[in-house]
């Protein structure tokens, strides 16, 4: 069986309060006593029971993290960074996976609440999420990442998606492209609309249009990248550059183009977004807009833990900037040895 605070007290011949003081590094303990307690702790291999601490002192040092889907795409790394950031501050992470299903999300987060959770990091909550209110009512700090969530007691760490759209357009324009297409994310999600707005506005500034025939609404999955290229073709689009609003769709687009005999980037430049680890492993390596997920998660955890430590829930919003990662899937147009690519 596992040694408890009592065992230490008994062995040392002191009270459990003294042991507790040593464990929690509080002063007001005779150095000698402290030393003897320490020794006993080491000898008996004692580890304080966080469950009991949590129950008593409301600080179980546990953070709940909810992610939509950890398999593929940008969010697979959230877990890793969250674990690290939390652990470095002495917190463990309980993870739930909501599959973008609001009902499941609710059930799962409830299961978190039944523990002495000190804080919650939410990814992509559905806008109408009722559960947030319940968490707030318990006075537990919440940080939402990736999607802004307006609430007086909820903090946000998000990307400047409008700017991402602008950067995508700037990159393509700078390379000389004028006939440009785009595979978007679901347009019911504000982040897709923001990206599109930035993209369109920047193109428009240079007098470049983005007609409906050059747009395809995808769902951020690989398959819609493939489908997108097909659809664009059926819509009669003619373009020398394509922006897919995430890397997965970018991969799909590259694949579809490849199969049609269209060369990337010689005939069509493909630009992605996210900068997944595998973006540099495909051929050609994907030029993409870097989504600073690591920083996003780290900032979110910082925010969360600072609120936990000061035991005051705030509403703070941090906006992070995207950046360009230029690789091999985009190039100048017309190309050096010009040969009018026309998918």
């Amino acid at each position: 069986m596992m040694a408890s605070i009592k065992d230490i007290a008994r062995v040392v011949g002191c009270s459990i309060s003294t042991v507790s003081r040593v464990i929690n590094d509080r002063d007001g303990v005779d150095p000698l006593t402290r030393k003897r307690v320490q020794e006993a702790i080491d000898r008996l291999d004692y580890v304080p029971n966080l469950t009991a601490q949590g129950l008593r002192a409301k600080r179980g040092r546990l953070i709940g993290v909810a992610i939509p889907n950890s398999t593929v795409g940008a969010f697979s790394v959230v877990v890793q960074f969250a674990l690290e950031a939390a652990y470095s501050q002495g917190f463990n992470v309980v993870l739930v996976n909501s599959h973008d299903d609001p009902d499941l999300e609710e059930t799962l987060i409830k299961s978190l609440l039944s523990r002495e959770i000190n804080g919650v990091m939410l990814t992509r909550v559905s806008d109408e999420s009722k559960i947030v209110t319940k968490i707030v009512k318990r006075n537990i700090p919440i940080v939402v990442i990736d999607r802004a969530f307006e609430h007086e007691n909820v903090s946000n760490v998000v990307l400047d998606n409008y700017k991402a759209g602008c950067m995508a357009a700037e990159h393509l324009l700078a390379l000389g492209h004028r006939r440009i297409a785009c595979i978007t994310g679901p347009l019911k999600i504000s982040l897709s609309r923001e990206r599109l707005r930035g993209f369109q506005n920047t193109l428009a500034e240079k007098g470049v249009g983005l007609p409906p025939s050059h747009l395809h609404e995808g769902n951020f999955l690989y398959q819609t990248g493939i489908l997108g290229v097909q659809t664009l073709r059926e819509q009669g689009a003619s373009y020398t550059a394509l922006w897919a609003m995430n890397d997965l769709m970018g991969f799909g687009a590259m694949r579809a183009l490849h199969e049609r005999g269209v060369r990337v980037p010689e005939d069509v430049s493909v630009l992605g977004m996210d900068d997944l680890e595998i973006a540099e492993m495909v051929s050609p390596p994907l030029t993409t807009i870097h989504y600073p997920i690591k920083e996003l998660v780290e900032r979110a955890m910082e925010l969360l833990i600072s609120q936990i430590n000061s035991s005051e829930v705030r509403s703070e919003t941090i906006v992070l900037e995207p950046s360009m990662t230029i690789r091999g899937s985009t190039s100048l147009h017309p190309p050096a040895g010009s040969s009018a690519g026309r998918p």
Copy 2:
């Protein structure tokens, strides 16, 4: 504040024991009383505090999961499957990330032990891991996946790696290849040695050799795939087919070959292993040996939870079979319109 069992008791006008009985679905409660308690529970939005339950009854319904690295490669999906399997049985998951560092692993798993963890799923523990003993001593069931761990109180769910090696060889031989190279995983890991053994033996049966010049020891990362192709070349290897012991190295190899102007699969067939989601997203899509991670994790969780429920720790070993997933990166040799590829 959050409603407790006391609040329910007060509202209903009964004792907390009665409420407890209702919560835990025990009989010996008057139907009427039960109904009134239920109503109060619903009305006050009461959720039993698992922390307290765990403290008192030693069943916090929490499972600790340790993975080496959740970012990239086959193990990024472990998390997802583990969450699902655990949740379906009413358990939450606390996750730690050991980065293949035995010391960190130990610290992290200790942090798990300080909670009322009911079971532990370990991935790739270092063979000399001291921590396992400590967990066992606390009578907590352990399941190790991916790497066998011999211990009378530890269960294992592993892949038949020898067979994977055989299958790789069979596939390549069946396609007509005779000059074959291999980029292995670290050979200090038994799983790499097993795969290699199966591969070599099967080749040998057909009189095909695998000389040192046709071998490169990688570390399962993308970069060693690239490096592997370079090294093989420096070693003067001439081959028409290459097995990389995981997909990541396979991607690297394809990339390096591509940059050398060697066509895959026309000149060289490349075979991977793992069957990552992205294996079908690269060009050409990677033929690979499917590593049934989902099943692996599900079986592991089953084993774990059944041991938890029966509160007896056992040592059981489950061996899973690999299978082939044939895509576009391997083809017949000599090819239809033969043209002697020689990287």
